[in-house]
Amino acid sequence: MKRKLLALLLSLTVIAGSLAGCGNEGSNAGASDTAGTADVSDTTDADAGATDTESGEVVKLRMMAYNAESTRATYLQYLADQLPGIEIEFEFVSNDNFDNVLNSQLQAGEGPDIIEGGGQTKLLARAGYLLDISDQEFIGKYADSGLQAYTVDGKVYAIPLQSWFEGIYYNKRIFEENGISVPKTWDEFIEIHKTLEAKGIKAQTMGAQSYEPMMKQSIALANNMFYSDSANLAFDEKFNTGEGKLEEAWLPAVEEWYKIIEEGCLQPEMLGLSYDQALDEFATEKAAMWECGPWAVETILEKNPDIEIGMFPIPGTNADKPGWLVGGPGSAWAINAKSKHIEEALQVLEVTSTAEAQQALVADNAGSSFVEGVEIDLGDIYADCDEAFKAGNVYAPWTAAWTNGQSVVEAYGKSLQEVLSGSRTVQEALAEADTTNLNLIDAMK
């Protein structure tokens, strides 16, 4: 028996050795394969060019992103068509690992040529990792509201891709059958829960196992009650220096939001639900409402092609004003200051700023464009959000304005989970977010 085992091991070793040998070649081949999908230029032509003239050489650009390749497919194809001399190597790194992968590469003086930036863009710009692109011509095409999140000390470091937003999806059939209309105020929204629950219908589902949904929903109330007053926009700058405190500024709004927990519309059971499970409950019509964004629609319709859904903005306290969505410039392309192909990377950004490229971006992931004059038809699902969009009622302070946004909202959202389970107050949750912010400001000193 022992002999047999050893023979097996030895043969495995031999196989492994040969695999390891071809593994290296294999992974290289793999890398160019993936790049190949984005590159549609005639390869024989490119090869010939590489040996003969410099102008025909194909430049490889690494693009590191936390949105999967499938959400950019149409756009990447468009880039490949427009820029035959550039081959994009699209590298997807999932969101919860993205910062640490990117940071360590940048610290080592490496990293991708083009970086998908989100909340961390300002930090990276401050640390000197990103190229200042303020003087580029294409910057002029963008609305200021889109650039603001990527501007540090008056310098622009990234161009926004399509916006993202979240509102409340609702099941039109359930609403109609129960004579419910889209709520105008937060109280009406809570009232809907009661009406439906009284009839034995689950009103709102939420994947509260993740810290995100409650964090976003409560910030929507802060949008409604705090940021709707333009005087308060200056607060975010104060927050970045540690001077502004959420515990003071947001408390009334988040306490208003808390009513939804007080009234039992959100229950502790939801802390055991994941995003998938919540999506499933909504798609299979077990629940009438779910807060999410356009990226979920495809999956919902896949699960239940017959479902009729709409989205309304999250209402505030004033019935005369449209509600707010949570959202903003989704993510953005920034250029690595140490890139060896800055010129080509700038070309990619320039092409991205055209109306066609913007439409291609939206084709795979609905959102609005920040390039002025580009009209995007979002479709019927979002008809109830029209007014909110027109009023510009879309905001997400942690991506738009905060330096340490991601870590702060994570701490805040996790504390809200404790609020839902009854062991903390909203005031404590806000204080927790403030502490996290101060710690991080401190870490930068």
Partner: protein, 294 residues
């Protein structure tokens, strides 16, 4: 016999492994200690010596202290539960029969699955959504559904259950082997004394299980302290901070928030705790060994 030449050959044989180990294990560990005294963070290129500030911050941050407590609590609980169950199973399954052997192999099987896969599987089994298997079984028998992973009071225990399910078989086979090595004559002697099953277990079996107990306890305790995968896939440290552990906090602060020095300081505390635990345990096990031998 050519002592010098031999020493040289010895040296050449051991040095590749030694260099690798020092460079990749000892040096980074030492660096952790060093960085813990600085202000290093990802977004802060200038490194400065700040003394024990990071440690002070750790003990004033309730979240981090809670994570430390969870890990210690988890490690102790899993050590006790897993080993008690494993000993019971080992004693009862230490028989020669096909059925029993089959049950033994089945009990060991989860140990070859990855923790992550077991975690995901149980995340679905324990979900509070409709169709969560465990709650379905409970309601079938007339019980009330439990919010296994969403209730902050029980989430850590739910994770623990899955790990006990996965690793008890591993400890069990070690106990079974140890049981087999116990001299049958000792049981016969106990029989003559008129001892019943439980008395035999307490007087003969348990003391002689010393080697397996010391190994298993030390392993589960250290394993429990560095627990990461199961929490990472099942609860992400939530709800709130209810299941944050040392490792999830280390990864969150060190990688995601970029507070490198702070995370290093936490690693140092982790080191100290593990060191104290293992030294204390080793001390007691040595006492036990002496007691048996005398």
């Amino acid at each position: 016999m050519g002592g010098k030449k031999r020493t040289r050959v010895y040296f050449l044989m051991i040095i590749p492994a030694f260099i690798g180990f020092v460079v990749l294990y000892i040096a980074p560990t030492a660096m952790s200690f060093m960085y813990s005294l600085t202000n290093w963070s990802v977004y802060n290129p200038e490194i400065r010596f700040v003394g024990l500030q990071n440690f002070q911050k750790i003990f004033t941050d309730a979240k981090t202290v809670a994570a430390l407590k969870h890990s210690v609590k988890y490690a102790f609980m899993i050590t006790i539960v897993q080993n008690v169950l494993a000993i019971i199973l080992a004693v009862l399954l230490n028989r020669k029969s096909r059925v029993v052997n089959f049950v033994k192999s089945l009990t060991f099987l989860p140990a070859v699955l990855s923790i992550m896969v077991v975690g995901y599987l149980f995340q679905y089994i324990m979900t509070s959504a409709d169709g969560g298997l465990l709650n379905m079984i409970i309601t079938f028998f007339g019980g009330k559904p439990v919010n296994w992973l969403g209730d902050e009071k029980i989430a850590l225990y739910s994770v623990l259950i899955t790990q006990v399910w996965q690793w008890t078989g591993w400890s069990m086979v070690i106990y079974v082997a140890n049981l087999k090595s116990i001299d049958g004559a000792l049981y016969e002697a106990a029989d003559i004394d008129g001892a019943n099953g439980i008395q035999k277990f307490l007087r003969v079996t348990l003391p002689l299980l010393y080697p397996a107990v010391s190994f298993n306890v030390l392993m589960s305790l250290i394993g429990g302290m560095k627990m990461f995968d199961a929490v990472f896939v099942m609860t992400k440290g939530g709800p709130g901070y209810a299941t944050e552990t040392i490792m999830t906090t280390l990864i969150r602060e060190g990688f995601n928030s970029g507070r490198t020095a702070y995370a290093c300081a936490f690693a140092v505390i982790f080191f100290i705790v593990v060191f104290i635990f293992s030294q204390t345990l080793t001390y007691f096990f040595n006492k036990w060994e002496e007691a048996i031998q005398s």
